[in-house]
């Protein structure tokens, strides 16, 4: 078997860049899906539907952008879901005090907790998976404690503002969608055009070499978790806004997994050092449109949604693995 595969692959002069194919692969899949959906469902290409898809996926998109930074350094952040809940809940409480503080303090706190993640991981030289798992469990516990496991509603009058944060239109496009696009844009710029961005890739490519070449690897590792924490807190506030100013202590449950899935589908390797936020954006949209198509189709009951999502994720990663294997055999 192995030899047969080798023979086939090495006799065909394939020349491509695996990571490029991966990113383009997600892009091609997205285009194909959009073409299929627009031909099959007349409601798909309506502006209403498009805006809905974008809006529904904007928060997971924001979180996934943060996750991209982390995964680029070969890390992982399981705590984002709990930080979303914490961000939303704190924000809702603080509306009693001051609207501006209600926006700033929760994000500052989730950023700080991200920094704690990063510090423990980089200074303690500990596994990101476990450290952020502990953070995930611990923060969820804290959220439950401070809320008594009840939803928190913003102070009266603030709900309109929060509704705008989550749903309001600006130039015909919902506010969270603008926010996502802005964050993707900034992140793309940072990763591509700044020293911090390049060093993020360097750490993921080879931490030892980066360190020897003078990259402050520990600082980079701290900052990517700060970014992830910051964006999680922000997503939490928007999520509370989407529900009209109601923050739920169970918010963001399992979002870390959706975010990781989107990042991986978008072509960022869990092994670090390759990929980017544009891919992640595409990954988020792919997963979102798959759900949208299932809904538009309407023939499957809603229990099929996770099955199709799971199989779709599997199909994409299997194709990616196949491409990687071919590449490995070639070199």
């Amino acid at each position: 078997m192995k030899a047969a595969v080798q023979r086939m692959t090495s006799s065909i002069p394939i020349r491509f860049n695996a990571s490029l194919i991966q990113q383009q692969g997600a892009f091609i899949a997205l285009v194909l899906l959009i073409i299929y959906a627009s031909l099959s469902y007349e409601n798909f290409l309506t502006s209403q539907n498009i805006i809905n898809v974008l809006k529904q996926n904007s928060m997971i998109g924001i979180v996934a952008v943060g996750m991209t930074f982390v995964i680029l350094t070969k890390g992982i952040d399981l705590s984002v879901g709990s930080l979303i809940a914490l961000g939303g809940v704190l924000s809702a409480y603080l509306t009693n005090v001051n609207m501006i503080l209600a926006l700033i303090i929760p994000i500052a706190i989730t950023a700080l907790l991200g920094m704690v993640n990063g510090l423990i991981i980089s200074r303690g030289n500990l596994e990101p998976f476990i450290v952020t798992l502990a953070m995930m469990i611990g923060v969820r516990g804290i959220v439950f404690i401070i809320t008594g496991e009840q939803s928190v509603i913003v102070t009266e009058g603030a709900e309109y503002f929060y509704y705008f944060l989550g749903n309001g239109l600006f130039l015909g496009v919902p506010f969270p969608v603008w926010l996502l696009l802005l964050i993707v844009g900034i992140s793309w710029y940072v990763l591509k055009m700044t020293r911090f961005g390049r060093h993020t890739y360097a750490v993921g490519g080879s931490e030892n070499a980066s360190q020897l070449m003078g990259v402050k690897t520990k600082n980079i590792k701290v900052w990517v978790y700060v970014i992830s924490g910051t964006l999680s807190g922000l997503a939490g506030i928007i999520l509370a806004g989407r529900l009209g100013g109601v923050a739920q202590p169970v918010a963001g449950n399992m979002w870390e997994l959706d975010a990781i899935a989107a990042v991986v589908i978008g072509g960022t390797l869990l092994a670090g050092g390759r990929g980017g936020v544009i891919g992640t954006f595409i990954g988020v949209m792919l997963l979102g449109i798959v759900l949208n198509v299932i809904n538009l189709d309407g023939t499957l009951n809603s229990w099929w949604q996770p099955v199709i999502r799971g199989l779709f994720l599997l199909a994409i990663v299997i194709i990616q693995a196949k491409i990687m294997n071919t590449k490995k055999l070639k070199t």
């Binding site: 992982i76 423990i120 200074r123 303690g124 030289n125 500990l126 596994e127 998976f129 476990i130 450290v131 798992l133 502990a134 953070m135 995930m136 469990i137 611990g138 923060v139 969820r140 516990g141 804290i142 959220v143 439950f144 404690i145 496991e149 931490e207 030892n208 360190q211 020897l212 997994l257 990781i260 899935a261 991986v264 869990l270 009951n301 229990w303 099929w304 949604q305 996770p306 099955v307 199709i308 999502r309 799971g310 199989l311 994720l313 599997l314 990663v317 299997i318 990616q320 693995a321 196949k322 990687m324 294997n325």
Partner: protein, 319 residues
Amino acid sequence: MANSNAVVSETKLKKQTEFPLTKAILPAIILLLALFNVLVTENFFALQSLWNLLILISTTALVAIGMTLVIATGGIDLSVGSIMAVAAVTSTFLLETNLFILVAGTLGVCLLFGIFNGAVISYIGVQPIIATLAMMIAGRGLAQVATEGYLISFSNPAYGFIGKGSIAGIPVPVLILFIVAALIYTVVKHTTFGRYVEAIGDNERAANLAGINVKLVKLIVYSIAAVLAALAGLIETSRLAAADATRIGELIELDAIAAVVVGGTLMTGGRPYIWGTVMGALLMGLITVTFIMNDIPHPYSLVIKAFIIIGAIFVQRKK
């Protein structure tokens, strides 16, 4: 300290104090906590609560034992909770048959899921975390499709025996846990398979070159994890006398991973500590019980657990 992730490790400074957690600290903590309970918690020392505690942890511990093997090979299995759901639902389809067919059939179906996981990971080369994440999403989805999301309750004394019965005074789930733990421990300690699991986790490439069928070993490891998850699913379903595809085993993968880590097995792979894992699960269960019996709200135990996990990996981190 500043260079603790030393660029190139100097062979001579390796510390030899490995896994004190399993060897001494972990049992000590458990004993202390138990002692604390004996003194502070009312009715704690009644034999019944000991059994209850062990029954409580039996499902997590079973799942965690399978997870230990997976983690020892350097992998991870997020799908165990969903496989419990699949087991729960499958068993309800077999209620009309006898207990043997019910158990064998359920384990068999879940074994297929495990083989699928293992095949995708080892033969196709998908990262374990992603492959089992997909299975986690799809598996529970399938269980929900089969039940349309409804809770299926039943009355079946024979099936109930698995979760609620006892043999010679020992509750069946506890018995199952100890038999499984002893069995897997023996396999790990005394068989070639156990040696292979550890070698793969420590240096997969070298293991492969030493003639070990790495792919097959990995496939078996994920299969074992699935079967043990199915066993846990049967126990839980039997105890509830209902199959709840949505709730059963939810987040158990995290509890199991925590138990494994607290038990001393390294996340990066290497030697599996089966009894360490059982003790890890016991410690986590003991904390939960202590909090419940002393009327402390449950969320506080989550915070404590977070600190224990961090503490555990901090103590046994690689220098």
